[in-house]
Symmetry: C2
Subunit: 432 residues, 2 copies
């Protein structure tokens, strides 16, 4: 393997991705969209038959033909960096999600999340069954329409400094539950697409494994980890009292990295996505993230890796398959349904949970849940790599995820500003 | 490529490496030695023919036979992680090295460094020429005996809180110059070992390229970068004054990552080691590292990667080639020469530079320059991978680097304590 060639690839992709991110941020859009578009351009533009992929010695291979062409070393490294990037991203979202908060937001958030999952899933599923009748296609597109991007939502709310409002607490709680539900949906869909028979038994097994894993992790986070922490904390204090010196203990960042990667692997082993394990692993440590100063450290690591994920996402988009009337029409319908179904579903769910909510509050909640961002794309990427989704539908999902991510932040800002004093303000740079 | 298998490998190696590091730290030794030994054990122990390498799906391949067996995907990723780890380690050393300090420590440090390079090089070269007469062997072993490990030395001094003493300033300055000289020596040796004729011309070209690159980077660091910084800083201030808002500018961590990887690649391109570029790249940003809060962020990234470097270093050691009387005898002689030559060379150099230095001070300086640590191993690893060094000599260098790293910290602590009040104290954990 040529190490220098790998390093060159990493540098050039990082620089291009950040230029894309900054450009989009300057025009008031989240930076990740710029990174995705950089990926699309890299994979689709070539001069005189020489593309940037060739110059950077990236060969993505082609696993859809027989015999499959394996990707080369450089692309393997890019893929690992992309995967580790999204793992650390979801881990850091987990670090911000205390299991107590999850339990405390209660009924309203739960109903908001549930309705916000059911309605979009039904809309998406029916649309594709009507469109091409392929159940795998329908399942993956429906699953991609389900999960709200916690990252984007939380970031907008944090940047507007309205984290303390009732609506924000419901949105954050619901977005988190929604993410867990979305991951269960993803697990089910992946299990069904993984060559397994679509029997009631196989679905039940998948649901059981997913629910059991999630519940086990929640139980760990709520009961077991605090006890372990207390045990070591007291042992540490006794040691300090006995020896009189602050004996440095286990490196907390290493512990976090091991938890993050370890549970990602465990999730994969039982048939869930790695990111589910990463998110739940983060939640295990959420109570101690501040004390251990983890968030900044994990963010540094995420910063190194995450751009490769979004660039790689873009690189999967084959522009030729998008340049058809079908894709454009289908994407328009999917965007419309994605926005409407989430808005209606969450508004309805919120009202079911808390009858006293005003129309304005339900509007804020509905709008706040719209962005799909990276989660929808992750679902579609799994679908594409498992062969359960076509290039056209993948392109449609990416367009939908990008579009909802662009649409939501300004709408949410406007909705919050209407209800709360106008001093709240999102600057585009904060969304990069 | 099986992503889950890569993640499992990364988790298990990280956990084992840290256990090794903690165990050694508990017995008062630097943790990196534990990580190297973990690597040695992983690669050399097997039960019923099943080694941990097999379980972790690591195939190191064998590039020394014809046709060469290529390493598998997992090992490729491990190698990239190891390389990025050592790149970020040297980058962070660079971040702590201001070019002004380098210029300011002046004559004494320069002479200490120079004599501390010349004497060990001559001793090492003569030893191997006498031993087997192979000039490539002699050059690489001599080069591996040259470079003081800035990391270890600086860490001991920092932990003892004697950074402000005259001896410490000379040691740090000399260790840095010594590193640059060591890297030039490495570049020359690599150029000569790279199949090139050992002509005066080829050596001159290599020296010229190495010196030109280093001088260019020093000039960049001293004249150009401060001007660029000032230009952008003033532009930023004008913008703030005009718009009234603190416009967030380029992400400094990304900038640092790009500088680090970019100059690593550039160094490789002109035939230097990647780590030379990383170190000099760090130096470019040393003046702003504090303001931009870079050190902690880069440390988080280094923490993720660096253990893989030391584990991989250990994995290259073939215990069978060490288990000979020759290697043990040779290693003992090399360790003795490495300690003696550095101690004499640096003491002599320091005296030449500053006649007023007491015997005690020269003793501190001589002892402080003993540890070779990772730098010596890096040199030997380049020698091994380029085929210019034998497995036996590689094993000898690793043993020497480990031994000098173990010997130096307690001696240095004792020497400092003798001259300065006994309240200084190194705790082993601080060396991990």
């Amino acid at each position: 393997m040529d190490v220098a060639s790998v390093i060159l690839m990493l540098v050039v992709l990082l620089v291009l991705a950040r230029i894309g991110a900054r450009l989009f941020a300057r025009f008031g859009m989240p930076g990740l969209i710029g990174e995705i578009i950089v990926g699309i351009l890299i994979a689709n533009i070539s001069f005189d038959g020489t593309s940037l992929l060739t110059l950077l010695n990236i060969d993505m291979g082609n696993i859809n033909i027989i015999p499959p062409i394996e990707p080369n070393d450089n692309y393997n490294v890019l893929e690992i960096f992309a995967e580790i990037g999204v793992i650390f991203l979801l881990f850091s979202v987990g670090l911000e999600t205390k299991v107590r908060d999850l339990f405390a937001v209660g009924k309203t958030a739960m109903l908001t999340a549930t309705m916000g999952v059911i309605i979009p899933f039904i809309f998406g599923f029916i649309l594709i069954m009507v469109y091409d009748g392929n159940m795998h296609h329908a399942l993956f597109l429906a699953a991609a329409m389900v999960a709200t991007s916690v990252g984007i939502t939380a970031r907008v709310i944090k940047d507007m400094k309205v984290l303390e409002t009732l609506e924000s607490r419901i949105i954050i709680g619901a977005a988190v539950i929604d993410d867990v539900l979305g991951m269960i949906v993803l697990a089910i869909v992946m299990g069904m697409a993984g060559g397994e028979e679509l029997s009631v038994l196989s679905i039940s097994v998948t649901v059981f494994k997913a629910v059991a894993f999630v519940l086990l992790m929640l139980a760990l986070a709520y009961w077991v980890v605090p006890k372990i922490y207390k045990y070591f904390d007291e042992m540490h204090k006794r040691k300090v009292a006995a020896t009189g010196e602050a004996h440095s203990s286990v490196n907390k960042l290493i512990l976090a990295i091991v938890v993050c990667l370890g549970f990602s692997w465990a999730a994969d082993m039982i048939g869930l996505a790695t990111i589910i394990g990463a998110f739940l692993g983060g939640m295990l440590l959420a109570e101690y993230a501040w004390e251990w100063d983890l968030e900044g450290k994990i963010e540094s690591i995420t910063t190194l890796f995450i751009s490769y994920f979004f660039v790689n996402v873009g690189m999967q988009v084959d522009l030729e398959s998008c340049a058809s009337v079908t894709v454009i029409v289908l994407a328009t319908i999917v965007i419309f349904l994605a926005v409407i179904s989430k808005y209606i579903g969450c508004g309805l769910g919120a009202q079911m949970g808390d009858k006293t909510l005003s129309k304005e509050s339900r509007h804020i909640i509905g709008v706040g849940m719209i962005p799909r961002g990276e989660v929808g794309i992750i679902v579609a990427a799994y679908g594409l790599s498992s062969g359960a989704m076509s290039n056209e539908l993948y392109a449609v999902v990416v367009i939908m995820a990008v579009a909802t991510t662009i649409i939501a932040p300004p709408l949410l800002a406007k909705a919050f500003r209407k209800k709360y004093p106008p001093e709240y303000k999102i600057t585009p740079d904060d969304l990069v």
